[in-house]
């Protein structure tokens, strides 16, 4: 072992740093270097930051906890979602027929509606929308209405909070175009026949 027997300081040949006497572990030696200054400062700064953080948040309560943050965020957005949307009763509403609106309606259909009524509207969880029967009415305004108010007990949620009025009109118009089409595996008719 390279012990420091004569009280002379042993140095590392490559770096000239001082080796610690008696520190020899399976021939691993250790140097007597000090902690790097930047490292010490990094440590001090993070500890000071940590103490300050706890004082601000938990002792002085000078910064908001998450519940407060949420309230602020909601207030800033000014989001107001009415509890129960009003029913659509305007029988004079007319379905849109321009191609751009129908294409936009189809986009919404594929993202939101298909998951229960299937792609062609043949129905699975929700009713078949291609046949000549309907649970909630066959007119365009009936379709708009059911998308707005929903029928949660049957599994149809209100989409008022997720779709704009414009989007609801477009997707309802697209639904009207499904009637009379013949997708595969149609669900048996539900509701009353359309007159």
């Amino acid at each position: 072992m390279k012990m420091n027997e004569n009280n002379t300081v042993e140095k590392d040949e490559l770096t000239g740093d001082k080796l610690l006497a008696g520190h020899d572990y399976d021939n691993i030696r250790e140097l007597d270097n000090n902690l790097p200054k930047w490292w010490v400062w990094l440590f001090i700064i993070t500890v000071v930051w940590g103490v300050a953080y706890v004082i601000v948040y938990d002792v002085l309560k000078a910064a908001p906890y998450q519940q407060e943050e949420w309230k602020n965020e909601m207030a800033a957005a000014g989001t107001v979602t009415p509890g129960q949307p009003a029913a659509v009763t305007d029988t004079t509403l007319l379905a849109l027929t321009d191609q751009a609106s129908l294409d936009a309606g189809k986009d919404i259909w594929l993202k939101q509606c298909k998951v229960c009524h299937l792609e062609g509207g043949q129905g699975l969880v929700g009713p078949n929308l291609t046949d000549d029967f309907s649970i909630h009415g066959c007119k365009y305004y009936n379709v708009v209405n059911i998308i707005v108010v929903g029928a949660p007990e049957k599994g149809m949620i209100s989409w008022k909070a997720q779709l704009t009025d414009d989007q609801i009109k477009k997707v309802s118009s697209y639904v009207m175009t499904l009637k009379g089409t013949t997708p595969p595996n149609p669900k048996a008719p539900q509701g009353d026949p359309c007159k």
Partner: protein, 719 residues
């Protein structure tokens, strides 16, 4: 002093090394299968045993406890003997440690495949295996401490400090987090519920990273890096400071996994500040490692062992900076529940643990087989392919994480979520998931090259099972400190006292965080409308746990506008008080489910939807990456467990009326028939005793109680 001759046990080292390689391949191939299931969900093969929820725990447990665990034992059994100048304390204990650990791994794989799980991440093992883990871990510790005590060196080296910290902390964590009351041989309920369970679990989960993946590997670095480089350790003082700072601070940081959750604010604050304070202590290890290489950088270019070490230590430095950043609320608001977490974990696992493990194997296999590494070229090829693999793995996930988080949070000018359909945000990530799978595959190619290289090394070598060494016996020094002997230097020659001090250091943080949450009621404000699950829902919940639904679905709505708009009310501590175990999840591959049963909510789906979705998710959404769960429809619910489950829940404090266990199945059948009837009205014929009925009952319960409370601070009206 006369030299004593003794023999290092290389056979135990070799056995652990073989196990490391075997489980490494198994764990990573399962990982690759999981990665491919993101692209082709049909790779769950339509059977229970290979669905994501069941094999994800196999991947994580195999990589952490089997691959890294055996790698750790390989390195410790090799280095400890040499650092103590002694053979392992007891050969039988070594063998029990080895075979016991492999047996546990086999048990783990089998139980997970069959859906036997506690549903707590990285602690999924059920109670009989948990007990086995504790026993084998104690055997390991006993063998290690025994070796240290009979050492022939005066002081214990820094590597051994890390090994000691590993042993005591993992023992404490594992036992505390696994406390549970058995329902049967393969099923138990944890004694903690909801927020408490979450805190204990993430105190465990975070510190499993700290004390299973970090401290033992720092110990290995402190031995193998200076040995391979033949250089002295840069700074002994830095070793002392960063060791104690690391183990003391690490234990507090667990709550950073629960930021913006229902965990009380003060506990979240502790998680944030202790994580940030960990940067320097973590980097202490990197600094001491890299600066030890001063003067030897020319050799790093030549020597594959050093190359692997440098990337390992660098990856360690990267992830221990990234971790604290992800623990700040600002970053966590974006990164949590996304692939950022997955990318972060893999920088650590593939870079730090994987590369250091192979550095250790490339170092010691040629030595115990008295030969040279078969091919430096192949080792270099392994190095480059694996490095490329890590980059291909991580970069797409970071990209994907930011993409997805932005999509989750984006609103239209009309104040509505731009991507209200969660699936859109998953479909968007498909190219990233494909690139990630390629990265993972590259890493596995590297491992195969490594194994090829090591096998040929072994074939060309001559195994030295008993390696002769000699050293003078240890002269007994007094218990008191000598003149001029610093406290720490004294502690280094008193391993028992050292162990006790380390234990105290890690207990402080854990106790301060967990005890108040357990004792002070105000930490969890009660919600009057929150009631225990019905027997059918309880059974359904256990199926949810069995199938590992938490691996893809969270049950924790965060208090952000983007989340309350998407899901409904944000999570309250009081709503989880009967959740043994909690199922908050840590990653959203699918949407949050905690408001699934709120009929007026945005996530609501009728019973028939759930039925069809479990039967064939792709029928409803061809882009869906959800596996099919058709066995829920064909398999009968096990009604024989209901009474026992109710009794265990009563024991844990869930307020079912006395004697309810005897009539629970009657209530269960009433609820089950109602669901079956509802399905029938939709044209679906299914018997009320099938598992799907219980699963639907549970899903339809989620969020109902909190919604019933009508808590004004949490309504979605924003008033």
């Amino acid at each position: 002093m006369e030299n004593q001759t003794f023999y290092y046990d290389n056979k135990i080292v070799r056995n652990f090394a073989y196990a490391t390689l075997l489980w490494g391949v198994v764990g990573m191939v399962v990982g690759l299968l999981l990665a491919l299931q993101f692209i082709w969900p049909s790779l769950s093969f339509g059977i229970p045993y290979t669905t994501f929820g069941r094999i994800r725990p196999i991947h994580t447990n195999a990589v952490i406890f089997a691959f890294v665990g055996n790698g750790m034992f390989t390195g410790i059994y090799y280095s400890l003997q040499r650092l103590c100048k002694a053979r392992m304390f007891n050969d039988l204990l070594s063998k029990i440690n080895f075979w016991g650990w492999q047996f546990i791994i086999v048990c783990a794989a089998l139980t997970f495949v069959f859906g036997i799980t506690t549903g707590k991440e990285y602690a999924e093992l059920e109670w009989p295996v948990d007990i086995l883990v504790a026993v084998i871990w104690i055997v390991f510790g006993w063998n290690m401490i025994g070796t240290i005590i009979k050492r022939r060196t005066s002081h214990i080296y820094v590597a051994i400090w890390f090994y000691i910290a590993t042993f005591v902390t993992i023992a404490v964590l594992h036992v505390t987090n696994s406390l549970a009351i058995p329902v049967g041989l393969f099923k138990s309920y944890p004694i903690y519920a909801g927020v408490q369970d979450a805190l204990v679990q993430w105190w465990y989960g975070h510190n499993a990273v700290a004390f299973f993946l970090t401290t033992p590997f720092l110990g290995l670095m402190y031995y193998f890096l200076p040995k391979a480089a033949n250089r002295p350790i840069f700074s002994y003082k830095l070793s002392i400071v960063h060791f104690w700072a690391l183990i003391f601070l690490y234990i507090w940081a667990g709550p950073h996994h629960l930021l913006y959750s229902a965990l009380p604010g003060w506990a979240q604050s502790l998680g944030v500040v202790f994580s940030v304070m960990l940067i320097a202590p973590s980097w202490g290890g990197m600094v001491n490692g890299l600066l030890t290489l001063r003067g030897a950088w020319d050799r790093v270019r030549e020597d594959p062992v050093l190359k692997f070490m440098v990337v390992a230590v660098t990856a360690y430095g990267m992830s221990t900076f990234e971790g604290p950043m992800m623990s700040t609320k600002t970053v966590n608001a974006i990164s949590h529940f996304t692939d950022w977490t997955v990318g972060h974990a893999h920088i650590g696992a593939l870079g730090w643990n994987g590369f250091l493990t192979f550095a250790v194997l490339y170092y010691l296999i040629p030595r115990i087989f008295q030969t040279q590494l078969y091919s430096k070229k192949v080792a270099n090829l392994h190095f480059w392919i694996a490095t490329l693999g890590i980059i291909f793995y991580a970069v797409p996930l970071y990209w994907g994480a930011i993409t997805q988080a932005s999509m989750w949070k984006e609103f239209t000018a009309d104040g509505m979520l731009k991507y209200p359909n969660f699936l859109e945000t998953v479909t968007q990530l498909q190219p990233m998931y494909a690139a990630r799978a390629i990265g993972g595959a590259l890493y596995i190619v590297g491992i195969v090259l490594g194994i090829y290289n090591l096998v040929l090394t072994i074939k060309g070598g001559n195994f030295l099972a008993e390696e002769a060494a000699s050293a003078p016996a240890l002269v007994k020094a007094g218990g008191k400190r000598g003149s001029g002997e610093g406290i720490h230097r004294w502690l280094e020659r008193r391993p028992v006292q050292f162990t006790v001090v380390a234990l105290v250091a890690i207990l402080i943080g854990g106790l301060i965080e967990i005890v108040p949450l357990y004792l002070i009621k105000t930490n969890i404000p009660t919600i009057a409308s929150v009631k225990p699950y019905t027997p059918l829902e309880l059974q359904g919940r256990d199926i949810y746990v069995r199938e590992g639904c938490y691996t893809c679905h969270s049950q924790q709505v965060r208090p952000f506008r983007s989340e309350t708009e998407r899901y409904g009310e944000y999570a309250k501590a009081g709503e989880y008080v009967y959740d043994h175990p909690f199922q908050w999840g840590s990653k959203r591959n699918g949407p949050d489910l905690s408001r699934e049963g709120v009929v007026s909510g945005r996530q609501y789906k009728p019973n028939s939807w759930h039925y069809n979705h479990m039967l064939n998710p792709q029928l409803l959404n061809e882009q869906s990456i959800m596996p099919v769960y058709k066995w829920l429809i064909s398999d009968d619910l096990d009604l024989s467990t209901t009474a026992k489950k109710i009794r265990v829940m009563q024991f844990l404090g869930v307020p079912y009326p006395a004697g309810y266990d005897k009539i629970a199945n009657d209530d269960l059948m009433i609820q089950a028939r109602a669901i079956a009837d509802d399905l029938k009205s939709q044209g679906i014929q299914v018997e009320p005793t099938k598992e799907i009925i219980a699963m639907i009952a549970y899903l339809q319960r989620l969020g109902k109680d909190v919604h019933a409370a009508g808590n004004p601070t949490a309504s979605i009206t924003g008033k």
